[in-house]
């Protein structure tokens, strides 16, 4: 069964955290704290605020190079936030300070080791007692490949340009292999592998540890993991997708996909495409959430939200554009829009606060109560794990004898 929306189904809400917010001038808002971006307290504040609002999970953006205003190449701008901390470590740093909210750091498949990321997210799941996920991302920036010096990435204009298709397909295929390895490693220990049998002196039953023997075009990985199976069995795998190639990654390997429809018809078309790919991948019976991504400028009155967006655009010196639809208005209007978009088959949304310290509290203290009034959002955390919050069962281990 695919996770599907119905007129009354509660929505899932995630919040995407990125620096001081998603608008490039967000750091200049009086409420913003750009000097605290590299402190643990800043991230703890944001995640705690999201948890107060009963949000399903937060995502942490990341990248293996400085942020840039150009899509696929670096810039030398000094008027925007540059620099960030490792997302897995930020998530782990806030895990002991929170109890219910899911923690989903971004990981870059193109340049990192699936073995390391598998044990890191498994450990995040142990540290958070079952609240870990990951958001897998490819990296097509030639300058970031040069940070590693192991492969050369040709320059392309955009992911969806015709010339780029071979590269994009290759990077996403590699990402799919990467997730496959990460998932097999999570399962490489059966849940009851640790036996501590004093009589025989055996700490583990080694028959319950498994080599994963993955052989792919870009890497091969033997296994088993050094880290026992995480509490959720399989932490939640997520990916952002804008076109057919990444939709396929979502359909093949993810539990949650983020998509960027600008209206309900687009949402419906995207969901249909992902569901079709899901069937092709033989996963039609598995739950897969498709969440709509939106950038949000939220204020108590629409004029205020517009004025704030205009002020930020003036500071930035250019109109704000995004891959995702940009919403500017009140929590009530946003609730209307989310309900409308959900008609297209989305099971929830990942909201990108334009200004973290302004729009996140508007989500938790404005939008959430409004959705609760409408019967579309939880009144209390109903589960202890992220899979539980997303209505995903704890999966059986693929290596365990039936």
């Amino acid at each position: 069964m695919s996770s599907s929306s119905s007129a009354s189904a509660p929505l899932h809400l995630a919040v995407a955290l990125d620096g001081t917010g998603w608008h490039p001038a967000s750091w200049r808002e009086p409420v913003a704290r750009p000097r605290e971006l590299f402190t643990a307290a800043y991230w703890a504040d944001l995640v705690t605020e999201a948890e107060h609002g009963l949000i399903d999970f937060v995502t942490f953006e990341d990248g293996l190079g400085p942020q840039s205003s150009h899509f696929l190449e670096p810039d030398e701008r000094t008027d925007q936030v540059r620099g960030r901390l490792d997302a897995v470590l930020v998530a782990s740093r806030v895990a002991p300070l929170t109890r219910h909210i899911g923690l989903v750091p971004t990981v870059v498949a193109t340049h990192t080791e699936p073995f390391h990321i598998s044990k890191a997210t498994a450990t995040l799941d142990h540290v958070s007692a079952g609240r870990a996920g990951l958001r897998v991302q490819i990296d097509a920036r030639p300058n970031e490949a040069a940070h590693f010096g192991r492969r050369t990435i040709p320059r392309i204009e955009a992911y969806d340009s015709p010339a780029a298709q071979d590269l994009v397909v290759d990077l996403f295929d590699e990402a799919a292999d990467y997730v496959e390895v990460v998932r097999r490693l999570w399962d490489s220990w059966e849940d009851d592998a640790e036996i501590r049998e004093v009589a025989t002196g055996r700490f583990i039953d080694r028959d319950k540890l498994h080599y994963i023997d993955f052989e792919g075009r870009h890497f091969s990985v033997k296994g088993p993991s050094i880290t026992p199976r995480p509490p959720q069995g399989q932490p939640v795998v997520t990916a952002l997708a804008h076109q057919t190639v990444p939709y396929r990654l979502v359909a093949r390997q993810a539990d949650v996909g983020y998509v960027t429809p600008h209206d309900t018809d687009q949402a419906r078309a995207i969901v249909a495409e992902i569901r079709a790919e899901q069937a092709v991948a033989g996963r039609a019976d598995q739950p897969l959430h498709v969440l709509g991504d939106l950038v949000v400028f939220l204020d108590d009155d629409q004029a205020g939200a517009r004025a704030r967006r205009e002020r930020l655009e003036a500071l930035a010196g250019e109109p704000y554009t995004s891959d995702a639809r940009i919403f500017t208005g009140t929590p009530v209007q946003l609730a209307d829009l989310l309900e409308e978009l959900a008609e297209g088959g989305l099971t929830g949304f990942r909201l990108r606060p334009a200004v973290a310290d302004h729009d996140l509290p508007k989500i938790t203290r404005g939008l959430v109560p409004e959705l609760q009034r409408r019967g579309r959002f939880r009144h209390a955390y109903e589960a202890d794990t992220l899979r539980g919050l997303l209505g995903l069962d704890r999966p059986a281990n693929r290596f365990a004898a039936a």
Partner: protein
């Protein structure tokens, strides 16, 4: 009383995946759950220890072609645990072992710089190297590195990581909301490294962290390893915790510092040390014997004998005599993923020696492994252990010790409660933290103090 007494440094090694750790003890807890790590770290911080130490292994050990199952198996990811521990501690240093062979400098530098930010300046990196294809089977590169190149790569890895840490100076982030200048320098983080092992360039994306660079540990014991430490490390995690061996190692390594233009106190020597405490020395000695028997079960004794014999000895009785047959010196080694077996360079001679020892003392296989294996370094009543540790440090067998308890996670508690107060009373161990960073605790200078590389702009 002419010379001022040295101050002792103390650290806590989370119990590891060898037979030092007694998982069969009823008090033994989880090696994976975060609550164990939090308990251990909080105990160390309560006792004002310098830092906590996590080891790492990137492939589960095998013996005779099967995953070794007699010791603790499995551990969490080093970085991820340390970041979480930063949330439940305030001053304790957080030292992680990270392999330089199966990682890339850009990613590791990001992780350590991030950990240093997230802990307010408490991170340290124990740089280790490996070359084995066995571990390489878990990684993109595979077993790519000839053994003789592992230190050359490790050195270049550390050099490159330092270049990345140093690519930010610490004053680039202006974040002036009025003028709209976030970065003072458009090229903040720019780096170029062209070397034999790494040819990389671009921009590092983590601003300078509180400590500038993580504190650098080195653990290798070979001549190359000692040179690497003398040239590049802030501290050594050594194996020599006895008085004589400790002094010899200390003298050897400290003597190597001069040729790198480094002062005597710029490299700390911290041997790993085990301990058993009792109310009296006699009680502790008895307890130590029990711990050794728990550490070396009959099954473990046979497996340890196989390290030397290099053949399957499972048909032997661990309570019986040593095997008559000689070690197998021709085949590939029976044990994989374990550094210890490299210590046995002449198995035939060791086998002869052990047979003689066993015959002379009427030892069974298990007795022999217990007696020839690693005994606890400090055994006694708290006053005895405190006095011995202090004597060793004042006699330059080390600058302190990295203590390895045998019980997870509570094995450090009694040391914290009984021994530390005695060291504090003697004025040789801090009564409270004086600084906030690990560099402060270890008395190391901040790398910024020595920076002269900035071009005036």
């Amino acid at each position: 009383m002419s010379k001022r007494q040295k101050q002792i440094h103390l650290a806590a090694h989370f119990p590891g995946v060898n037979n030092t750790t007694v998982w069969s003890d009823p008090a033994a807890g989880s090696h994976i759950e975060f609550s164990s790590f939090a308990h251990f770290a909080k105990t160390a911080e309560r006792a004002k220890f310098d830092f906590l130490f996590l080891a790492e292994g990137l492939r589960l050990r095998e013996q005779g072609g099967k995953i070794y199952d007699l010791d603790v198996v499995g551990r969490p990811d080093t970085f991820t645990v340390l970041a979480a521990l930063a949330a439940v501690t305030d001053r304790l240093g957080l030292t992680g072992t990270i392999n330089s062979t199966f990682n890339e400098p850009y990613e590791v530098a990001r992780q350590f710089a991030s950990l240093d930010h997230l802990s307010g300046g408490r991170s340290a990196w124990n740089v280790v190297t490996s070359w084995d294809a066995f571990t390489g089977e878990n990684f993109r590169r595979g077993g790519f590195l000839p053994q003789e190149e592992r230190y050359s790569r490790a050195e270049e890895f550390l050099t490159t990581a330092n270049e990345l840490f140093d690519s930010w100076y610490g004053d680039e982030i202006l974040a002036d909301q009025a003028t709209g200048t976030f970065l003072r320098d458009a090229k903040a983080g720019a780096f170029v490294h062209r070397g034999r092992h790494f040819d990389i360039h671009g921009r590092f994306n983590v601003p300078r962290s509180p400590q500038g660079r993580p504190v650098i540990f080195q653990a290798g014991d070979s001549d190359e390893g000692r040179e690497f430490a003398a040239s590049s490390a802030d501290a050594i995690f050594s194996r020599y915790a006895t008085l004589k061996e400790g002094q010899a190692f200390y003298t050897d390594v400290k003597a190597r510092l001069a040729k790198y233009g480094r002062a005597h106190d710029q490299l700390l020597i911290l041997p790993a040390a085990t301990f058993v405490l009792g109310d009296t020395d006699e009680e502790a000695a008895e307890l130590a014997r029990e711990v050794r028997r728990a550490q070396v079960s009959g099954a473990t004794a046979l497996k340890h004998l196989e390290f030397v014999w290099n053949r399957d000895l499972s048909s032997y009785d661990p309570d019986g005599p040593l095997p008559d047959i000689d070690p197998n010196v021709s085949a590939e080694h029976i044990s994989r993923g374990r550094a210890q077996v490299r210590m046995y360079r002449d198995p035939l001679a060791i086998a002869r020696e052990w047979r003689e020892l066993a015959a002379a003392n009427k030892w069974s296989i298990r007795d022999l492994v217990i007696e020839t294996g690693n005994r606890q370094n400090f055994v006694g009543a708290p006053a005895t252990v405190a006095r011995t540790i202090n004597e060793f440090v004042q006699a330059d067998a080390g600058d302190g010790f990295i203590l390895v308890p045998h019980i997870t996670p509570g094995g450090l508690d009694v040391f914290a409660d009984k021994v530390v107060p005695l060291l504090q009373e003697q004025g040789v161990f801090r009564a409270d933290y004086e600084g906030t960073t690990l560099r402060d605790h270890l008395g190391l200078t901040h790398p910024d103090e020595a920076r002269t590389d900035r071009v005036a702009s």
